[in-house]
């Protein structure tokens, strides 16, 4: 019941928020998101890492197809649920002092999106999962189209069609799984128990993975991403990069690794190589990007490449790294895009060039920004390091050469992050006219301080989080290698 | 000529007749440009099929063929009603029922 209420509360909240007007809707949305966060806290406190699937609810839905409403949380989904629920309040809080037209609809869509994404993370029935997966596309479509940048129509269309095309493959994949189950249904446990032959596994792997690869995205399925991240409204970008792309990562954990393990070992080299190419490619391009949001988009792409590579290393370091890095990347991406938004809010654009001198007049912002930035650069004792270290260690276990190439991200990330920070924040005003940059207001400060605190806390003491997922990961590895 | 013994028309002949009627109908639809003539040709095709249905029904002694003929006739009647009404309406608009003139509905 607790699990279902995590989905239901944002939905109800979205409906409630529609009734409120203007800024009230923001407060309603924030309260709803906070309630959900508290519930998540309760859930984690009661969670037993070694206990498999918990907080389960399973009732028949469409008996003739064997479809059930089956939700539950285990060590793999718990971090994702946590991420979605940390992200929710932060994203809502991040627009508190912004003028947003039709704010009640905006916030309702955010909550709707949150509900759908949590639904994806907790579904244990393939059919239900697919519905939530597609459902999540609807609010982000309207967010982008309704509140996006000047080039939003073309970009939204591309994003929508691209992901929809991927989903189609996934649908076929699930139908194939259903057929192979002999009509026993879509339940996760049923699908995991299937004994598929090699060829079928590879076909299903291909079908499912294309959908996930587009969502993450993995090189070369990424070209929707920079545009979408750039044109979406800030909160939309946060939802996309912070949480939505984790749907792809999580889905590999849930629907690929345990179900088609032989195909995974068959394809792993290819995918790790593709991911590593993506890391280098994304980082390299990020160096010379002019728009901060596009720059962070390519950075995000590079970081996700590392996670994707870790997913297929078939060892505990890689998988654990992928899980914790998903959480961490979500938090950091929200922080980075928020910083870009703050700059745009003050100065009217997000270009790297022609700025400078902000640190002089907005020290609080500068400090919080650089903490988030170093989290992204994966400095030890910040949250980014733990995941990146584990991921690289996992890849090294697979191949030290690939790890070395993937490790170039360590250098390149420092290059593009420090470079953009230097030109935007440091130095003196390079404009011809003087400019004003009011330092953070309360809601901005709270948002960024929470993010900065998470950056440092998770970096210093990641063990509780790793312990939450460890038994589930080890069990998954046993399943794969059985 | 012993097929005529007993005053019975041989079964095959019904089939040949329907085939000829159907072919005439197809040819009419394909070749004529007047919409009303085309309409009539369509009716001819329908009736050729009706003929086959009735013949088979009589030949096999089962009634379902007859029942289908009634269905077809009902549908044909409805079709005539709607179709002729459309044609009248078109004629009122463009003073013609030549299908060469009726090709605005494209792309």
């Amino acid at each position: 019941m607790l699990t279902s209420s995590l989905i239901l509360i944002p939905l109800i909240g979205a409906a409630l928020g529609l009734l409120a007007k203007g800024n009230n809707s923001k407060i309603v949305a924030l309260l709803v998101a906070l309630v959900n966060l508290v519930l998540t806290g309760i859930l984690i406190s009661q969670f037993n890492p070694a206990g498999g699937v918990q907080f389960e609810q399973n009732c028949s839905w469409i008996p003739s197809l064997g479809v059930n409403y089956h939700v539950g949380i285990d060590g793999i989904s718990i971090l994702m649920v946590l991420l979605a629920n940390i992200a929710g309040p932060l994203i809502i809080l991040s627009q508190f002092n912004r003028d947003i037209e039709r704010a009640h609809i905006y916030n309702a869509l955010i909550l709707f999106m949150q509900a759908a994404m949590i639904g994806v993370f907790v579904s244990l029935d393939g059919f239900l999962y697919y519905i939530f997966w597609e459902l999540a596309l609807i609010p982000i479509f309207f967010l982008m189209l309704g509140w996006g940048g000047p080039n939003r129509q073309a970009v939204t269309l591309k994003f929508f069609l691209y992901t929809l095309a991927g989903s189609l493959f996934m649908l076929v994949g699930f139908v194939l799984l259903y057929v192979n189950s002999g009509g026993a249904g879509f339940d996760h446990s049923v699908l995991v128990g299937l004994q598929l032959d090699e060829t079928t596994q590879r076909i299903i792997f291909g079908l499912l993975f294309i959908a996930f690869a587009i969502k993450m995205p993995i090189f070369p399925f990424h070209s929707w991403q920079p545009g979408a991240y750039t044109e979406a409204p800030t909160q939309g970008t946060m939802l996309l990069s912070g949480v939505m792309l984790k749907m792809g990562i999580y889905s590999v954990f849930r629907w690929i690794l345990p179900i088609v393990p032989d195909a995974v070992s068959y394809f792993s080299t290819l995918i790790i190589v593709l991911s590593v190419i993506g890391i280098i490619y994304g980082s390299w391009i990020a160096i010379r990007q002019k728009d901060l949001k596009t720059l962070f988009a390519f950075a995000s792409f590079a970081h996700v490449g590392l996670i994707a590579a870790g997913l297929f290393t078939n060892n505990a370091q890689g998988l654990q790294g992928a899980l914790i890095q998903s959480l961490v990347h979500g938090i950091n991406a929200i922080g980075l895009f928020y910083c870009a938004d703050i700059i745009q809010n003050r100065l009217g654009d997000r270009l790297v060039d022609g700025k400078g001198g902000i640190r002089l007049i907005a020290p609080a912002f500068a400090t919080l920004f650089i903490i988030v930035l170093f989290g992204t650069v994966a400095l030890p004792l910040t949250n980014g390091f733990v995941g990146e270290f584990l991921l690289l260690a996992g890849i090294a276990d697979y191949s030290i050469v690939l790890s070395g190439v993937a490790g170039l991200t360590v250098i390149l990330c420092a290059v593009y992050m420090l470079r953009s920070y230097q030109y935007v924040m440091l130095g003196e005003n390079s404009r011809s006219v003087s400019f004003t940059f009011p330092d953070l207001v309360l809601s901005e400060k709270i948002t960024l301080i929470i993010i900065a605190a998470l950056v440092i806390f998770i970096g210093v003491y990641p063990d509780p989080i790793l312990k939450l997922t460890e038994p589930a990961v080890l069990q998954l590895l046993e399943q794969i290698n059985a | 000529m012993n097929e005529f013994v007993g005053g019975q028309v041989p079964f095959d002949w019904y089939l040949y007749l329907s085939l000829v009627l159907f072919a005439i109908g197809v040819a009419g639809v394909l070749m004529r440009r007047n919409a009303i003539v085309m309409f009539m040709s369509v009716e001819l095709m329908l009736n050729s099929v009706n003929l086959i249905l009735v013949s088979y029904s009589s030949y096999t002694g089962k009634l379902s063929g007859m029942v289908f003929v009634f269905f077809v006739m009902v549908v044909a009647a409805a079709e005539v009603a709607v179709g002729l009404a459309l044609l009248v309406s078109i004629y009122r608009n463009i003073r013609s029922v030549d299908i060469e003139e009726l090709k605005n509905l494209k792309w």
Binding site: A286, L360, P380, A393, Q422 | W107
Partner: protein, 645 residues
């Protein structure tokens, strides 16, 4: 066994407190710095490091007892993933204790110095916060019980270095230097990381004690060990500014002078040496790597010294001198003379910190001027600085009985035992050292004052907070060498005996120790000292008797001298072959590959769909006759196919 338990229990608290106190100082200064007065914030920062120093001293004295043995203190579980278990754990042995003493000792002196030096800076409190943070990370680096904790410190000091080089962030040149330092360090860090991964794969652990106890299973020059040590050495070249990753260090002089003294001379740059000495068992197993280290060290020592000859910025001279001296330490490491390397780390920390602080005092007196061409004759204005500076200069030149002599001599003796050629080159480098250091001294302190009248008017000795650290460091530079007086000079080499347990498990080392003949050793000493004296004399003749002045920027001589003055164009070279192509490729990848190929392909699909529909819709001609015809033909075709099959 009982002893070990007792020790770790006895010192657990101090062990945790030692790094924690500077962290606490950082926290207070970072969060409440705005509300503290300058003196209070500086005093807090200094005190936190000083208390750590005292706590380190207690461990140091305990380590003098025979019963002392290395111990570990676990604080909490940090990372666990499958077989990888990394606790936040400290490991204290003799090597660590010595490094802790240097870091907190020299560190607290430099903190004290900074209280005077940075007093008028608006970012005063921020400065102390960073400085404390640096000490914390540096302590973590040397105290970590496994490679990953060391790596935290390793990257952490890089962060502080970045923050402190770019401390005056209004100047984009300084920011560039900071960024360059961070990125070049990261190149090395990647090597360190990969080395760690290989260690974990082969040894199943990253904990020092476990790794080293299993190292005996490997043969000499085993490919894996060579790979591991080479990767670790790549990390060391980045942090310790060796060829080819040295160019960040001279640029790092953009930071405030105390930073140059603490981070870029005494402590952080010696982290690479720490790493190699710590992993001495692995490195001794890989003579191939040692050869590489020897060559790189030697090349850096000479290269740095040559460039130092023609630098005119007082801090740049010292920076290249640091590069060169670090090269000497790596020569020692390449020779397997680990304790000699550490000895030089220690004495270098004393005299180089002294020289940098002295330079800071000079700059302070000169109202911010750093160009030695506009100094001169400062001796009579700033006596304390001058006296301490000459002590440091003599020490680095290797004149007995000052500290530099003993440590450098030990390296030279080892070099001779290995090959006279290396000895010769090393002596040549040290001759250059003596020359450029005395050139610096003579140009700064002797002759006529060449600055502006205004500068002359402001010339003054620095306050006590600045001179006291100078004096203390000068004393240490004089007596520091006596920690390692070799047997041939009647000493007992206390340092070698103290550090012996660190190398006790290194069997290769104990077999390969070489002893030079006593007479030969004394002769070598005489040669190197004589060489240094000759060079000092030459410097005296050139810069004092003949009063030669370095040329202005407009009148630079050509040829080799120009090459040196321009630092062999290494920066320009890196810019041309690395930075520019990287930037160019970044643009090219985006503008060509991304836009035209990858996105182009996706757009092509979309355009294909649109184009296809444009073609297909032509079939929708509106001609009813055609439709009928198409229907008929289609039906006929279907019937035909059905009949045929």
């Amino acid at each position: 066994m009982k002893d070990i338990v007792d020790q770790s229990a006895q010192f657990a608290l101090s062990t945790i407190l030692i790094p924690l106190l500077p962290l606490l100082g950082f926290t207070i200064n970072a969060f409440f710095g705005k509300h503290l007065s300058k003196t209070l914030s500086g005093a807090l920062a200094t005190l936190s490091v000083a208390v750590s120093f005292i706590l380190s001293l207690t461990i140091f004295f305990a380590a003098q007892n025979d019963g002392f043995s290395a111990f570990s203190v676990e604080v909490f579980e940090w990372i666990t993933a499958g077989a990888l278990r990394i606790p936040m754990e400290f490991y204290i042995d003799q090597l660590t204790v010595m490094f802790m003493l240097i870091i907190t000792g020299v560190g607290s002196l430099i903190h004290l110095y900074s209280m005077g030096y940075m007093h008028d800076d608006e970012g005063h409190n921020r400065f102390f916060a960073y400085l404390n943070l640096f000490v914390f990370f540096m302590l973590l680096l040397v105290m970590g019980a496994n490679y990953l904790i060391t790596f935290i410190g390793w990257e952490g000091v890089g962060l502080c270095s970045y923050l402190l080089i770019g401390f005056w962030y209004k100047n984009q040149e300084y920011n560039n230097a900071a960024k360059k330092a961070f990125i070049m360090n990261r190149i090395g860090d990647l090597g360190f990381l990969l080395g760690m991964f290989l260690i974990f794969q082969n040894f199943g652990s990253l904990t020092f004690t476990e790794v080293f106890s299993k190292a005996g299973n490997y043969d000499l020059n085993d490919g894996m060990i060579v790979a591991i040590t080479l990767l670790l050495f790549v990390g060391a070249t980045g942090k310790s500014a060796q060829l080819p990753l040295f160019t960040w260090l001279p640029d790092a002089m953009a930071g405030p002078t105390p930073v140059s003294a603490l981070i870029h001379a005494a402590t952080m740059v010696t982290a690479g040496i720490y790493l190699v000495v710590r992993s001495n068992i692995l490195f001794s197993l890989a003579p191939d790597t040692q050869h590489v280290i020897l060559i790189v060290g030697l090349a850096t020592a000479i290269f740095g010294a040559i460039i130092g000859l023609r630098q005119n910025d007082i801090k740049k001279v010292l920076a290249y001198s640091t590069v060169s001296q670090l090269g000497y330490m790596f020569i020692a490491l390449g020779l397997g003379a680990y304790s000699a390397a550490f000895f030089h780390v220690m004495t270098h920390a004393f005299f180089k910190a002294l020289l940098f602080l002295g330079a800071g005092s000079v700059i302070h007196a000169m109202s911010g001027e750093q160009d030695i061409r506009r100094m001169g004759g400062l001796w009579k204005y700033i006596k304390v600085t001058g006296i301490t500076f000459i002590i440091g200069t003599i020490a680095i030149s290797g004149i007995p009985p000052l500290a530099g002599f003993f440590s450098k001599d030990e390296i030279l003796a080892n070099a001779f035992a290995h090959s006279p050629l290396i000895w010769g080159l090393a002596v040549g480098g040290s001759m250059l050292t003596a020359f450029y250091m005395f050139r610096l001294f003579f140009l700064t302190f002797c002759g006529e004052f060449r600055g502006t009248e205004e500068q002359k008017h402001h010339l003054h000795e620095s306050p006590a907070t600045i001179t006291i650290p100078l004096i203390v460091l000068a004393v240490l530079s004089i007596i520091g060498g006596f920690a390692g007086v070799p047997e041939v000079l009647g000493g007992s080499h206390w340092l070698n005996r103290f550090l012996a347990p660190v190398f006790a498990d290194n069997e290769i080392l104990s077999h390969s120790a070489h002893h030079l003949d006593h007479n030969l050793e004394i002769m070598l000493m005489c040669i190197s000292v004589a060489a240094a004296v000759i060079m000092i004399t030459i410097a005296y003749v050139v810069y004092v008797s003949k009063s030669v002045r370095p040329a202005d920027d407009q009148h630079q001589p050509g040829g080799f001298a120009k090459l040196i003055a321009n630092k062999f164009y290494v920066d320009e070279l890196y810019n041309a072959i690395i930075v520019k192509p990287v930037m160019f490729l970044s643009n090219a990848l985006y503008n060509f590959v991304e836009v035209y190929i990858i996105d182009g392909f996706v757009n092509l699909l979309g355009k294909g769909a649109v184009g296809g529909s444009r073609v297909l819709r032509l079939a929708q001609s509106g001609n009813i006759g055609f439709y009928f015809f198409a229907i008929t033909i289609s039906i006929l075709v279907i019937i035909l196919i059905n009949t045929l099959s």
